[in-house]
């Protein structure tokens, strides 16, 4: 099935640099289109912090042809959904809906990309919304601990800040700055679009050539910062919560380091990826100290991290921190059997991407946009299968001896 999907994919590069990936799945009742662009934290300077998030919120709030309500009425009337997002180094415009409405969905997709309105009242409304959202990030104690960890690890690197930006920079962003940002980001040579589902490939290709073939390429944005050294800080705040939450981690391979990244994904799953992971067994099964414990590896463009997280009674703070650190270290000695099991688990999780048209569309455009190539998922599976425990240990050893960073939220009253 996997090979069959790969064989159906067609890559088209328009003259202006826009990359189009077409994957027809005639048996599907659904249709998905997904645009991936470089934007987000990595490309913003201090004054621009949050501009990608604000642009992506405001872009769905009407076009030059229709106001917010009229535009979204047209989308929802089809039974379709449209989403936009911005993250650390990429952003998306994604639409999905019934396959028999694919042409209408594409029309609306082009309308939003080519003719956003960025009306002042809508931009101000979304600014207020983002500020509220930013303030509420700490309302969830686990997210609050993660937020502190990111600051402790990234220091003053752009990745240290929430992807929503910062309140002070958001408040002073003007509509004209959003327009300038849009003109820099929405250029054809910064666009990878994937189309997945039940559609006519030749027809869709022609529509794209007609609609987006005339866009003019421009110089692509460059990251605002290239050098990085982990800050290795410890940030602990007190809150009115029942239990303590801690996140500890250190530097890990970036997303473009293909082999290293796959090794770390396997090691991460052995460490804290499921019900038989080391952290789950040591902290939850053997000691009953936590309900939610695990690890997370976030490969980014450039500096990246692996971290362990846990919620537990504050009385065990030192014991849990020590256990997390010990498990990071002892993972160096993972044996072949455990490694094979973690590999299989990693593959099982990966296969979920192949179940829906929107997850496939998202995967294809992302891999192509960031330079891994649209066919990376198939390389991934092959590399995963042939990786040996010795190779993974060697890679892991290169990272594990660093000083860790920590973010935590602990109860006010003990």
């Amino acid at each position: 099935m996997m090979q069959e999907i790969k064989d159906r994919i067609e890559k088209v590069v328009l003259k202006n640099g826009l990359v189009l990936l077409l994957l027809p799945i005639p048996e599907s009742a659904l249709f998905a289109v997904n645009l991936c662009l470089h934007l987000g934290n990595l490309f913003e300077n201090d004054k621009e912090r949050g501009i990608s998030a604000l642009m992506q919120e405001a872009i769905l709030k009407g076009t030059t042809k229709r106001n917010t309500i009229e535009f979204n009425q047209a989308v929802e009337r089809l039974g379709a959904a449209i989403r936009s997002s911005s993250n650390y180094f990429t952003g998306r415009i994604a639409m999905d809906g019934p396959a028999n409405k694919s042409v209408e969905i594409l029309k609306l997709f082009f309308e939003v990309i080519k003719s956003p309105a960025f009306r002042k009242e809508e931009v101000d409304k979304e600014k207020k919304f983002l500020v509220g959202l930013l303030r509420s990030l700490d309302d969830d104690p686990l997210k609050a601990a993660f937020h502190r960890f990111r600051r402790a690890f990234f220091g003053n690197h752009p990745y240290a800040f929430p992807t929503l930006g910062e309140e002070k920079s958001l408040q002073i962003l003007e509509v004209e700055e959003i327009w300038q940002w849009y003109r820099k980001i929405f250029v054809p040579n910064n666009m990878v679009v994937s189309v997945v589902g039940n559609f006519d490939g030749a027809r869709v290709r022609k529509i794209f050539e007609d609609e987006l073939g005339g866009m003019i390429p421009r110089e692509k944005l460059r990251p605002t910062r290239s050098s990085f050294f982990p800050a290795s800080l410890k940030i602990v705040d007190r809150r009115e919560v029942r239990d303590a939450w801690v996140v500890i981690g250190f530097r890990a391979p970036g997303i473009l380091e293909k082999e290293e990244r796959i090794a770390f994904e396997i090691m991460n799953n052995a460490l804290g990826g499921g019900m038989y992971s080391r952290l789950f067994l040591k902290i939850r099964e053997e000691r009953g100290l936590s309900y939610q414990v695990g690890s997370s590896y976030l490969p980014l463009l450039g500096p990246s991290f692996i971290c362990a997280f846990c919620g537990f009674p504050f009385a065990y703070f030192d014991a849990v921190v020590s256990l997390l650190k010990d498990e990071f270290r002892s993972l160096v000695n993972i044996d072949a059997e455990e490694f094979e099991e973690a590999k299989n688990y990693t593959r099982g999780i990966f296969l979920h991407y192949f179940e829906t048209v929107s997850s496939l569309a998202s995967l294809l455009s992302f891999c192509e946009a960031i330079g891994l190539g649209w066919d990376f998922p198939w390389q991934y599976e092959a590399t995963l299968r042939r990786f040996t425990v010795e190779e993974a240990r060697t890679i892991y050893r290169r990272f594990v001896d660093q000083k860790e960073s920590m973010g935590a939220v602990v109860p006010v009253v003990v």
Partner: protein, 412 residues
């Protein structure tokens, strides 16, 4: 609606198997047990959920963590959920492992060890889970809604139980729970994936051979729902914005209002152009977010309007919501609004059945608490709903004099 098919087989023991063929590299194996909070007494509240935790703590043939290790080694995702009416266990595996996975999941359900040492340790874990929910404003809001709207009935008790009831659970409670509910006649197994039906059914027959069965009976007394009264609950947490809900007691999955309430939820509060979003967020700026949700169970349901705001007041939001309810009668949903709601529900349905697990959960839930045929007939029902019927249901359900309002706001 090509492709919306499934096969159901009932074994002589009463055990039900449902198969949906779907093209995927994965297979979902989803066992449903007809037991939930509704079967608990106040003094053993949390028992169904605690038992669900305990089955993961080792089995007769795979003590300790051997079973979870085997599952993980085949690339499987194993988890479970306890709700008001049911407990379900799912295992999603690469399709080449479906036979082993099915044997393991059956082992998990029918041969848990229930070691007393594990029971004591797991109590600590569940109490942690209770704390975690108390620290999360959205979870806490949801608990309060259920507690207040379903007050005086088993549905009003928390799924996780309370700290003191969890601490008091004993091995005997678990064994009795297992005897009463974990038998073949009280279960449905849904398998969704690219499998041959005949092979699946004959394999399952071998797997369950010799497993216990009892007559399925509904022994638990379930009291009537109290006549709803106006309730307002406001509480403080260490949060930076307010999380609120206005909730109404209404019919459940078997109710004739079921499909209308789903449609009303989309018209009022699902999507950018839903009536409440336009009025409260886009036009009046009263809220940061607003949406509706219809939670349906076997015996009843709750229709809620959820909202958040950074600065504002509950009273102002409720006044605006009331106006929108009134407007439903002054300006009934137009054909365009109905078409939008039907199309969104249709797309959402196709998205759910696109995945192996989504299909299995949909079919399993309907088979347990309603009728599995209804799961795939939802779209047909929607076509026949008219405005008069919709307004009748709205009038019956959305009475602010009978609403439960909850607001969780920032502390001083």
């Amino acid at each position: 609606m090509a492709g919306l098919t499934y096969t159901k087989k009932v074994f002589p023991s009463g055990f039900r198997v449902i198969h949906r063929k779907i093209s995927s590299p994965l297979v979902a194996l989803n066992f449903w047990v007809r037991v939930g909070v509704r079967d608990e007494k106040p003094e053993d509240n949390g028992l169904a959920h605690f038992f669900e935790h305990m089955v993961f703590k080792g089995t007769t043939h795979f003590p300790g963590t051997l079973l979870t290790r085997k599952v993980q080694a085949m690339g499987g995702e194993l988890n479970a959920e306890t709700s008001l009416d049911t407990t379900d266990f799912y295992l999603v595996v690469p399709k080449e492992y479906w036979r082993e996975a099915l044997e393991l999941e059956a082992e998990l359900l029918f041969h848990p060890l229930l070691d007393p040492k594990d029971i004591e340790r797991e109590k600590m874990v569940v109490i942690q889970e209770i704390h975690l929910d108390e620290d999360d404003p959205e979870e806490r809001l949801n608990h309060l809604i259920h507690q207040k709207v379903f007050l005086g009935t088993p549905y009003g008790m928390p799924v996780l139980g309370r700290e003191e009831t969890v601490r008091n659970l004993a091995l005997e409670d678990l064994l009795e729970h297992q005897r009463r509910f974990y038998h073949l006649a009280n279960m449905t197994c849904v398998v969704s994936g690219d499998l041959e039906e005949a092979e699946l059914f004959s394999f399952l027959e071998k797997v369950i051979d010799g497993f216990p069965t009892l007559e399925q009976c509904d022994l638990c007394f379930f009291p009537s729902f109290p006549f709803p009264i106006r309730q307002i609950v406001e509480c403080r947490m260490d949060v930076s914005r307010s999380y609120g809900a206005i909730s109404f007691l209404c019919g459940g999955i078997k109710s004739e209002d079921f499909n209308v309430l789903r449609l009303l939820s989309v018209i009022l509060g699902d999507g950018m152009v839903s009536r409440l979003n336009i009025a409260l967020r886009e036009d009046q700026g009263l809220v940061d977010t607003v949406h509706t949700a219809y939670s349906y169970y076997e015996r009843a349901g709750i229709f809620s309007v959820f909202y958040t705001f950074s600065s504002g007041s509950r009273e102002a939001v409720e006044e605006a919501v009331q106006k929108e309810f009134d407007r439903l009668f002054e300006q009934p949903p137009t054909q365009e609004e109905l078409e939008r709601a039907r199309n969104l529900l249709r797309s959402s349905f196709f998205s759910v059945i696109e995945t192996t697990l989504g299909s299995a959960e949909l079919l399993g839930r309907f088979d347990m608490i309603d009728n599995v045929d209804h799961a795939l007939q939802i779209l047909l029902y929607l076509e026949h709903l008219d405005v008069v019927h919709i307004l009748e249901v709205a009038k019956k359900c959305f009475d602010m004099e009978r609403a439960t309002s909850i607001l969780i706001g920032p502390g001083d």
